[in-house]
């Protein structure tokens, strides 16, 4: 038998010999797919402008990533689609009235400054899309806060721009009738292009959870904390439940909780860390909304908690398999005794 066969050199690859199909690239593409319902709603409400913004943002993000890696003589990394996703997420946080060059500048900041300068995918400690949004708000505050009137409300609202629900809620004004909870749930409200429809975002989030790309821990603890605190503290002029629902449906909370706060690189990796991160995001969001000069707290809350992610991972060390409760108690007792001496 050995005479007939030519000698083959066999690989000695390390175990396991099989691997899941869900690689980095596929995860990124899946998140983009999950954003499509929200993108669709924005086209329904704002016409062709969101399309232009998303294309400009994604194309420029990929371009910056390619250019940086090329100039630095590093292997190209646009194939993992993470730059495209960053571009899409950034576009989702812009108002529909934004000019096309705004995301181009924003994606430069996101990709080159926030991500690549720290070593590329997995090494950045701030969410690139949100950091770019913060940068754009600081630099072009007027362009970032003029909210187009959505198509469904064009009959009720005069002019081309209008205030967001957050402005009404925290500006002490009463909520106009056309900003009902139902309208806000389906996406008939002003806001950045990705945030307006809670329903579309929840469909996308459900998709991500079914594909096991995100877990419930960060979004649920985040949203839960925001809801709980709003329910407890409330606001004059609203019943506590109404207040909570308005806070839940506006201010990009759902977009932030499911798509931004679940970014892999910039959030903790341990299950305990996830919960702590979500609760922290919720508390900071509520604090900014109540006491900050700027009503939209979600993006800053996430950025602030991003900076704490590393410490949170260290705070929640798991005990390995086989360590029982008694063992942990014994370990703690021994430690105490050692400290006492």
């Amino acid at each position: 038998m050995s005479d007939k066969q030519e000698r083959i050199i066999f690989d000695v690859a390390y175990q396991p010999q099989v691997r899941t199909d869900m690689d980095t690239r596929r995860i990124m593409i899946n998140v983009m797919i999950a954003l499509l319902p929200a993108f669709g709603v924005s086209i329904w409400q704002f016409g062709w402008k969101p399309i232009l913004l998303v294309i400009a943002s994604m194309a420029s993000a990929v371009f910056w990533e390619w250019l940086y890696r090329k100039l630095m003589k590093k292997p190209s990394s646009i194939g993992d689609c993470s730059a495209a996703l960053t571009g899409m997420l950034l576009a989702m946080t812009l108002p529909a009235s934004a000019p096309w060059w705004l995301p181009v500048i924003g994606s430069f900041f996101a990709i080159v400054v926030v991500k690549q300068l720290y070593g590329g995918i997995g090494k950045n400690f701030l969410n690139p899309a949100l950091a770019a949004r913060a940068f754009l708000i600081a630099s072009y505050s007027l362009k970032m806060t003029s909210w187009s009137v959505p198509n469904s409300l064009a009959a009720q609202v005069d002019g081309v721009t209008m205030a967001t629900p957050m402005t009404y809620l925290y500006g002490g004004q009463t909520m106009p009738v056309y900003l009902s909870m139902k309208n806000m749930f389906f996406g008939m409200m002003p806001g950045c292009i990705g945030e307006i429809s809670a329903l579309a975002l929840l469909i996308g989030a459900a998709y991500l959870m079914i594909r096991k790309i995100i877990t419930w821990r960060i979004p649920v603890s985040f949203i839960g904390t925001v809801c709980l605190l709003n329910l407890i503290f409330g606001h004059s002029g609203y019943t506590n439940f109404e207040w909570m629902m308005y806070n839940l449906l506006s201010g990009a909370l759902i977009l932030g909780a499911f798509f931004m706060a679940t970014d892999y690189s910039t959030t903790p990796v341990t299950p305990g860390g996830h919960i702590l991160f979500g609760i922290g995001c919720g508390i900071v969001t509520v604090l900014i909304r109540y006491f900050g000069s700027y009503p939209e707290g979600v993006s800053y809350a996430i950025l602030i908690m991003n900076l704490c992610a590393w410490a949170m991972d260290k705070a929640f060390r798991r005990y390995q398999f086989g360590v029982s409760k008694e063992d942990i108690a014994a370990m703690k007792a021994a430690k105490k005794e050692a400290a006492g001496k």
């Binding site: 038998m1 691997r19 997995g122 892999y264 990796v269 341990t270």
Partner: protein, 447 residues
Amino acid sequence: MIRSFRGGVHPDYMKAPQIPVNVVAPPPQVIIPMIQHIGAPAKPIVKVGDYVTMGQKIGDNEVPMFSPVHASVSGKVVAVEQRPHPLGEMVMSVVIENDFQDTPCTDLQPLNEFELKDPDAILQRIRDAGIVGMGGAMFPTGFKIVGGYGKVDKLVINGAECEPYLNGDHLTMLTFPEQLLKGIELLRIASRLDKAYYGIEVNKQDAIDVLMSHDPAKYGIEIVREKVKYPQGAEKMQIKAVTGREVKPGALPSGVGCNVCSTRTAYAVYQACYEGKPCIERIVTVSGSAMNQTANALTRVGTPLGYLAEQCGGFAKTPRKIVLGGPMMGICATSLEAPTIKGTAGVLFFTEEEDKNVDDPTCIRCGKCISVCPMHLEPVFMYMYYQKRDFEKMAQYHITDCFECGSCSYNCPARMPLTHAFKTAKIMFQERAAAEKAKLAAKEAAK
């Protein structure tokens, strides 16, 4: 109730239990390595030119942690020399030219009625028949049972067969249910226990039904249904699912009063005691993208891998990789001339199709490795400290508790070589410990 453990992955199972067992014609030459168990290697007790019968003992040793080796065909010994071992390296092997007579050896006779109830007789037979953990670990079964005396109160039989591709256990359950139950009964008697627990994943419902129809309670066996999840068949996970007990880090299963034996081991015990047949053949699943077809082949120990592939339908494409065992924990063989051994549950011939490694893997900190680790470790940090060679931190993150199931690597979207790194790190820890010991010894000597 379906039981399980926390963590784990769901790989593509690729199983084909519907393919009936085909008997592979014994090869013209068998190569029988003297290392087919954990412990001291056997010493060949035959010379070139000797005539051996099928089942004759050809490798022996006197140490306690040991298992003898038997001829799997009858014929003439043509060589006693170093040959490639399937798990790498060259190993002393006995090469037998097959005379195709299969003249049986009469050394081992079926046990009589009384001996079948006597723990000592069964134990002696388990040792004489060279039975080892046939799930792949190849731990001498007799040694395991004796080690459990006084400590073990639960005998667990592993019927999870959680590795993808492999069908041997499933087919054994379907084809020889009564023999299998008798084999488990013998293991139970040898362990001096009243009850054995048989953990089977529920994807083998047909096998569970067949076994139930043979009244396992009569043999003192309780069947436990388990969730389909890898690595359900790992010793510690099996114990957790069946008894709810958790083996302490660094301890043996007997520390929580459990011993685990595989399905195929139980069947081998049946054959040894009721038929007087030593451990010389087993079902090997031959599959993979390089093969024309999948086969569940009843194969003699010592069959060269190339011959086995030829007999099972031949290659469709040139294989790039030979995997012995399942794809998750299996080890690569480097030669088609290497033989199958007692622990070979599967031989998989893979092409590039299965190879998903990338050149420059970058961790994206998704934390998926943490959620799947059945030992509740944190592979992402273990790998980070491994890259820095920070041994103190690695120990703090319990890297030595990793049993290399491969779940983290399997699930890693960035294709990080996690399991491989931990395996290397564990070897480095062993080397460091050895060096430390040597240093101490040198110091003692200097005094």
